[in-house]
């Protein structure tokens, strides 16, 4: 019991994220990266960017899902250890945004994998990314 509590506490205090670009225009990606750098510095909340899906708790996904990326997105999601959470960052990730109707775009991230939190914006501001992560953590609590 105590062990579970400790794990739960650790999960809330240090959610490790992996960032995946499922066909984004780069704008949201650089804003996510900006959230990790000194001005916004999400690392003070214990949030760290990881390179491997197996190390991450939260999949931060940006961009509409293109036909090429769909399978890869699902693979990455499946490689993550349970429990896992997904944040769709940017209007495109939420609903395909301006790319809605393009022949190579499937739709938002939720057309491929389940999504826990949506952060709209074109592009999202780093503040919004932080807000999204904090809200997700609250909901896990």
């Amino acid at each position: 019991m105590l062990f579970d509590k400790a794990i739960h506490w650790a999960r809330l205090k240090s959610p490790w994220i992996i960032h995946f670009n499922s066909g984004a225009c780069n704008a949201c990606d650089i804003e996510i990266l900006a959230a990790l750098t000194p001005k916004y510095d999400v690392e003070r909340f214990g949030i760290q960017l990881k390179g491997s899906p197996r190390h991450a708790d939260v999949l931060v996904c940006s961009g509409p899902v293109t036909m090429q990326q769909r399978e890869r997105l699902i693979t990455i999601y499946e490689q993550m250890a349970e429990p896992k959470f997904v944040i769709a960052v940017g209007t495109c990730a939420c609903s395909a945004g301006v790319f809605n109707g393009c022949y190579c775009v499937e739709g938002g991230v939720d057309t491929a994998i389940p999504v826990n939190a949506y952060v709209p914006g074109c592009p999202v501001k780093p503040e919004a990314v932080i807000d999204g992560v904090v809200k997700l953590l609250k909901s896990i609590e």
Binding site: F20, N21, C25, T37, G97, C104, C122
Partner: protein
């Protein structure tokens, strides 16, 4: 030692964007490399045809979130050329200002990423902290940190006032002081020179033969910059230098970029000081007359080309984009081959790749015969079987490695 093929991407910690490289390794050295693209292909050129000229500005701005102003400027230039519109001088100056601030933010972003790729995290954090000054400035001037929405056909959408001018000048002073420190770091710091010198060599002849553009070409000692060679906006009236370097390696590309940031500050100051008065846009009818135009723009990554054909309606008939990264990709295998595996991330990063810009559909057509040189998978397989048959090897019974 046996050669080994390893994949890099589409999801990889050293890559910021989805792209895929297959590297044939001979020990630690790269014997051959191939690039696979298309993960970010969204079908935007086709989508442009179903939207109006004005809607297309905002769509094309989202080709790439880093050089968004470049793409929208290049597109509106082409449309204005078809419609025969001369934009007001103040609009040209404002476009130049945003374009140069974008170059500063893009080059600083690149310098940070380069620091990250070579394990110099301090440089990454320092540069990105200073980059926030430019981002704040862009937000104050245009209303958004990225994807500014500044351009419209016939001019720009927002004017700047004297308080904003003051803010620009104030921020430029701080940025200039910080950038001169980075110039010192990039040209004198032994660990950077040791890590970057001689990595990803691209001699002048190869750069020209493979059609490299932008800082990659300039770092190979070629003076080519659309702002000088084919001036648009206000560049013909401004005084600035084209930075070149003879290192022809990653160090050269770094040096070119950091010095270019300084030139951008110079341009921004001149623009702000000499900003003419007057309107910021002219009225343009929704329907654009029949015609076609081609426009070039020096994006932070190099020459960005847009081609637009109109048919007299309010929607373009064809929009074609050639982003700078596509031009630079041809040289990337040349740079990687013969180098070490550990150098691959920084060599790839050194062309400042932007794959969301690059992933366009290409059809190769013979201009004389009209024949399309395009194969589907089965056709390509048949072609290779025939090719070997002529040389006395029969592969027709071999099982295909991939499913058709």
């Amino acid at each position: 030692m046996a050669k080994m093929m390893i994949p890099l991407g589409p999801q990889h910690p050293a890559l910021e964007e989805p792209e895929s490289f297959s590297l044939l390794l001979d020990g630690e050295r790269i014997a051959a490399a191939t690039v696979a693209l298309g993960y970010n292909h969204r079908g935007m050129e086709k989508a442009c045809e179903s939207r109006t000229y004005i809607q297309d500005i905002y769509l094309l701005e989202r080709i790439c979130g880093i050089c968004s102003h470049s793409h929208s400027s290049s597109y509106v230039q082409a449309v204005e050329a078809i419609a025969g519109i001369e934009i007001p001088k103040r609009a040209a100056y404002l476009r130049t200002l945003i374009g140069e601030l974008e170059r500063v933010h893009s080059h600083l972003l690149w310098l940070g990423i380069a620091g990250h790729e070579i394990g110099f995290q301090t440089l990454f954090m320092f540069v990105w902290r200073d980059r926030e000054l430019v981002m704040d400035l862009l937000e104050r001037l245009t209303g958004n940190r990225v994807n500014y929405g500044m351009n419209t056909i016939g001019g720009v959408r927002r004017d700047i006032d004297s308080t904003q001018t003051e803010e620009v000048l104030k921020a430029l002073d701080i940025l200039e002081a910080r950038t001169s420190y980075y110039i010192k770091v990039c040209t004198e710091e032994q660990s950077i020179i040791g890590r970057l010198a001689g990595v990803g060599k691209l001699p002048r002849e190869d750069a020209l033969r493979l059609g490299a553009v932008g800082p990659v070409l300039r770092a190979s000692g070629v003076r080519r910059d659309m702002r000088k060679d084919d001036p648009y906006d206000a560049y013909s009236e401004l005084d600035f230098n084209v930075i070149t370097d003879d290192h022809a390696d990653v160090l050269g590309r770094t040096v070119v970029r950091v010095f270019e940031i300084m030139e951008s500050y110079k341009i921004c100051r001149q623009v702000v000081r000499n900003m003419p008065d007057g309107p910021i846009a002219v009225k343009v009818p929704a329907k654009i007359p029949t015609g076609e135009a081609f426009s070039r723009y020096e994006a932070p990554r190099g020459e960005d080309i847009h081609y637009v054909r109109s048919n007299g309606t309010d929607r373009p008939e064809r929009v074609k984009v050639r982003a700078p990264t596509l031009a630079n990709l041809a040289s990337i295998t040349n740079m990687i081959e013969g180098g070490y595996l550990a150098d691959v991330p920084i060599v790839i990063a050194a062309i400042d790749p932007c794959f969301s810009c690059t992933d366009r559909m290409i059809r190769v057509q013979d201009s004389r015969s009209g024949r399309e040189d395009r194969y589907d998978w089965a056709g390509l397989r048949q072609y290779s079987i025939d090719w070997y048959k002529k040389r006395g090897v029969d592969l027709s019974q071999t099982k295909a490695a991939w499913k058709d």
